[in-house]
């Protein structure tokens, strides 16, 4: 790939109290590519993802997203950017238990001001795409873990984000369900042109990516960035 990075981080530092989580981490992501972020537990993988997604502000370093300096944006601006440009999938779905699955998927659209009926119609279409339209009217407590992750993937994709951040999206699933979730996530993101930052410690999950980077002791080995 030769296009300019969509997201590029340089020299990120982040410490929680006296413990450094990131120490000069560099990262780059091109539009539409799937990059696996690997590394041992506690290496700084999730902290890197949180910084890149504008959830956590790094102590030092810069993050350029589509020409904008993410670290210079206000909390409100970063929150708005996360709603419009980014999608998220976490290890345990983090669906709202009081809402139906269709309402959960429609939630990001509703937060962006879309009317309920239109939002839920789009949500149901995404649930069908993720092969779980049968759970649209059910609440998260009534469905399996695998179905819940597919609902979470639908919620991440419904706003047509440019970047999806997935933090151990199959970590709580068995092999078969994990594989199906990864297959659906990467197929759907490729169809929509979304890039994916995929944090995982499982090599079989990382094998769904275009390339991998390894975080170790808060630093990143990223051959693409150096190129």
């Amino acid at each position: 790939m030769t296009s300019a990075p969509l997201l590029r981080a340089t020299g990120l530092d982040k410490a929680y109290g006296p413990t450094p989580a990131l120490a000069g981490a560099d990262f780059s992501l091109r539009a539409g590519e799937v990059v696996a972020v690997m590394g041992p537990s506690g290496s700084g993988k999730s902290t890197l993802l949180h910084c890149l997604a504008g959830i956590v502000r790094p102590d030092a370093g810069t993050i350029a997203y589509d020409g904008r300096d993410l670290t210079a944006l206000s909390d409100r601006e970063r929150s708005s950017l996360r709603r419009t440009d980014f999608g998220f999938v976490f290890q345990f779905g983090q669906l709202v238990p009081e809402l139906t699955c269709a309402e959960n998927v429609a939630l990001p659209l509703r937060l962006n001001g879309e009317k309920r009926r239109a939002a839920e119609a789009r949500a149901v279409a995404w649930l069908a795409r993720l092969e779980v339209d049968g759970v649209a009217a059910k609440r998260p407590g009534e469905i399996s873990g695998g179905q819940g992750q597919r609902v979470a993937v639908a919620r991440a994709l419904v706003t047509a984000p440019r970047v999806i951040f997935a933090d151990e999206p199959t970590g709580a699933l068995d092999s078969l369900n994990g594989e199906r979730v990864m297959s659906l996530l990467t197929e759907a993101s490729r169809d929509t042109g979304a890039a994916v930052v995929l944090v995982t410690h499982e090599a079989r999950v990382a094998a769904y990516s275009d390339r991998e980077i390894v975080v170790r002791d808060g630093r990143v080995r990223d051959a693409e960035w150096a190129a």
Binding site: P40, S183, R204, A206, A207, Y208, E212, R216
Partner: protein
């Protein structure tokens, strides 16, 4: 893999010519390593000699004779015994990779680069297998999964070794 037992097993569904046996083997088990004709015929000769198959008929044509082989009762018993015998687990204790890592440390070279390059190569193959699984049938998926789980085990060893490199360096230089 025991080619002889596999060919015998394929004969249990009915007599076949050597060419049909090769094709059936390649379709089901020969994804990366199709059989050579020579292997089929030398194996069948051995099975014939040992009384595990018999020649069920010969077709004369323009080319070489085409023998049709049938499995014998002794052959069926042999397949059953082979299927019931567990395979010896292979511990890979003397892997080339382990040797490279220790040698690199012994000679004062860094082993990080070796581990990184190997990780990258393993993942490249895992991506290829993952793509092949996606486009393949269930048999393809199972054979790719087998390879993927083994590669994943290697990668876990790589990660563990990477995390212990400093200690390993101290020990091998002692």
């Amino acid at each position: 893999m025991s080619i002889g037992h596999t060919l015998l097993g394929l004969l249990e569904s009915g007599p076949r010519h050597g060419y049909d046996l090769k094709r059936a083997f390649d379709d089901r088990f020969g994804h990366d390593r199709p059989l050579h004709y020579g292997q089929v015929y030398s194996t069948m000769s051995r099975l014939l000699r040992n009384g595990l198959v018999v020649v069920d008929g010969v077709e004369a044509g323009g080319g070489p004779e085409r023998k049709r082989y049938a499995i014998t009762e002794a052959g069926i018993t042999d397949v059953a015994q082979w299927l019931a015998t567990p395979e010896k687990p292979e511990p890979y204790l003397q892997s080339t990779l382990y040797t490279k890592v220790v040698l690199a440390l012994l000679t004062g070279r860094g082993a990080d680069g070796i581990l990184d390059a190997q990780r990258s190569e393993h993942l490249r193959l895992m991506r290829e297998l993952t793509r092949r699984k996606k486009d393949g049938d269930l048999a393809d998926q199972l054979i790719c999964d087998h390879a993927l789980f083994h590669l994943e085990a290697d990668l876990r060893w790589l990660e563990l070794t990477a995390a212990r490199l400093d200690r390993l360096a101290e020990e091998v230089r002692r």
